[in-house]
């Protein structure tokens, strides 16, 4: 995660996705399809953590790609492509969360883990019943604990953590996505880690489910 000053020309040279976007700008729809294919899973993953609903995350991801396509004519490579894409995603997710809050929708994260499906509570029940193989049980437990711990972070902390962990972004890039200063990112991440440490401490020590204020 190093901070570096990069000129637009460098972004074209260094970032293959920027080059793809420039092809989209010239009207190459296949390049656009390639960009969708490259970013769809990453984008949906982050958005689902942010809005808590799989279908909404997919809709938002499509909206992000639509905005990317509509913005193609004025596109200038001023940042890495992923930074630009997640900036759009962050703005859309913020709007969606506001809109959800206005409708007073309260959600409980009901995602399944990889290779497993259904309600986490059912999975826990299954795990407790001893019908699940040990290794799978460990994975399910860890996954549920971490999901709940992530949900316990505030929206900004969660976004910073997801970008740092899964997008491997530098503080400067995260700052650009979230439109805050790198110093604020440093502080956000540090606090998020303290919260995660406290939430996960009981699980790491004793395997107990953490308490999370939803």
């Amino acid at each position: 995660m190093s901070v570096s000053k990069t000129s637009p020309k460098d972004y074209v040279e260094e970032d293959a996705d920027v080059r793809l976007m420039l092809l989209v700008q010239k009207g190459d729809a296949n390049a656009f399809e390639e960009l969708v294919s490259r970013y769809q899973n990453r984008l949906i993953g982050v958005l689902e953590h942010l809005v808590g609903k799989r279908d909404l995350a997919e809709d938002l991801a499509q909206e992000v790609f639509l905005r990317v396509y509509r913005a193609r004519s004025g596109y200038q490579p001023q940042a890495k492509f992923s930074t630009w894409l997640f900036t759009i995603a962050n703005n859309l997710a913020s709007n969606a969360r506001r809109s959800l809050a206005r409708r007073r929708e309260v959600h409980i994260d009901r995602r399944g883990s990889e290779g497993l499906s259904g309600d986490p509570l059912e999975q826990m029940a299954l795990a407790a019943s001893g019908l699940m193989p040990n290794r799978q049980l460990d994975n399910v437990e860890a996954c549920l604990m971490v999901q709940q711990a992530i949900q316990g972070l505030n929206d900004r902390q969660r976004m910073a953590v997801l970008l740092a962990k899964f997008e491997d972004m530098s503080y400067a890039d995260i700052a650009e996505v979230m439109q805050i200063s790198p110093k604020a990112v440093k502080s956000l991440l540090s606090r998020a880690r303290c919260t995660l440490r406290e939430t996960l401490a009981s699980y790491v020590r004793s395997g107990k489910q953490p308490r999370v204020n939803l």
Binding site: M1, A29, V36, N41, A61, F65, Y69, C194
Partner: protein, 412 residues
């Protein structure tokens, strides 16, 4: 109270430092100071370790997969909705028109609007534009793109000439067919006819090559283009074009480790190393004997069937049911294929003591050459790959022998 605030600020600063160090976001001097403190302070080391542990726990979060139709449906959605920007802007003034006039206008223009909208979507949409763009690109770069993968495996013309001095390649070049690289001056109309006659798979492969080409750094792209141009203009272009194809075919059937080794070597000793691999292949008799193949195949069948439940746990229900309904031979073949795939995810699958004993027993029954090969290959997965490749080769040969032309059978 002031003390508490002061202490809280200090604690925040302390945590921020640990966090920034972990993320590699410290300036050099700050990092040196931090590391010096880290070497002295046990508590600090412990906190850094906890942070690392918690951070790696996040790995257990599920990685989302978009639904299988997501890419296609997104492109279609964009094709339909993207042109609406200019349309929606234009609709601004329309709101000021009285309702009755709008209805009248709508009635008059409905036919034209419908026609125009369909034309706008079909002609301007990325989907149809994609087809036109693709054909145009393929026409312009077809020959280069057809052989792009081969160009990537080679360094330059001198390398090809060096390769051509190795008997193994030279003898094969003599009987190789014309790879078509030299048809750069062929008629554009012929090209067009050839490309429009391609099936979508062939076109997609070429376009995929084009996309891969664009992903390369500028200097690498320039190198490949220059290489192509130099090759087609050289005096011995015909031989070089053939050697390029023969070498690429040979390279692709190597062990991945050998491929990496060749790629990483400097050009000066690359040819020598290639020669060494060829000689080693001839001496150690990598061709699997029928007996060894049967032993290995039996062992694999055995392992796959004994691990049936473990392997099928990773498979979707429909597929699992289908596999369970197969006969024993087909089932073990499917299980071996799955075994290879899931061993990457769960490498300890075969590593219990029983499996190890069985493996040793199997290995001891194989011929010396085979045992040498087994020892040389570092992972069980690659050993299985070797057997599968050999099995495939035998089956292919058998198929070739078994295939009779319809004319033969009618004669018989």
């Amino acid at each position: 109270m002031a003390d508490e605030i002061h202490s809280s600020n200090e604690s925040d600063l302390y945590n921020e430092q640990i966090s920034a160090y972990f993320d590699g976001e410290m300036a050099a001097d700050e990092k040196a100071r931090f590391e010096s403190r880290l070497s002295r302070d046990k508590t600090l080391r412990s906190q850094l370790r906890i942070l690392q542990e918690n951070w790696s726990l996040l790995e257990s979060l599920p990685r989302e997969q978009a639904s299988s139709r997501f890419t296609a449906s997104t492109v279609e959605m964009v094709a339909l909705r993207a042109p609406s920007t200019s349309m929606s802007r234009a609709m601004g003034w329309a709101r000021k028109i009285p309702g009755w006039l709008w209805i009248l206008l709508a009635a008059l223009l409905s036919g034209i609007t419908g026609y125009t909208a369909i034309r706008a979507v079909t002609i301007m949409s990325p989907v149809s534009q994609f087809l036109e763009d693709r054909n145009a690109l393929l026409l312009e770069h077809a020959i280069f793109l057809e052989h792009f993968q081969e160009y990537q495996l080679t360094d330059n013309i001198d390398f090809l000439r060096g390769i051509n001095e190795i008997d193994y390649f030279a003898s094969r070049t003599k009987v190789a067919s014309d790879p078509g690289i030299l048809n750069h001056k062929r008629d554009l109309i012929d090209d067009k006819r050839r490309i429009t006659g391609m099936n979508s798979g062939e076109k997609n492969r070429l376009h995929q090559n084009y996309i891969s080409f664009l992903q390369l750094p500028q200097n690498e792209r320039a190198r490949l283009i220059n290489f192509h141009n130099a090759l087609v203009q050289s005096n011995d272009a015909e031989i070089l074009a053939k050697i390029l194809i023969v070498y690429a075919r040979w390279y692709r059937q190597l062990d991945p480790l050998d491929q990496v080794e060749i790629t990483l070597r400097p050009q000066s000793d690359k040819t020598e190393y290639i020669q060494k691999i060829i000689s080693a292949g001839v001496q150690s008799g990598r061709v699997v004997t029928r007996n060894d193949l049967i032993i290995m195949q039996e062992w694999l069948d055995d392992v796959a069937l004994r691990n049936e439940k473990k392997i099928l746990r990773f498979v979707e229900k429909d597929k699992r049911d289908a596999i369970l309904n197969l006969n024993q031979t087909d089932k073990s073949r499917q299980l071996i294929v799955l075994l290879r795939r899931y061993m990457k995810r769960d490498p300890v699958l075969l590593m219990n003591s029983l499996e190890r004993k069985k493996y040793q027993a199997m290995a001891s029954r194989l011929s010396d050459e085979w045992q040498q090969n087994l020892a040389r290959l570092p992972t069980i997965n690659q050993k299985i790959q070797l057997v599968l490749d050999a099995t495939r080769r035998v089956q292919r040969e058998r198929r070739t022998r078994d295939i009779r032309s319809p004319f033969d059978s009618s004669i018989n």
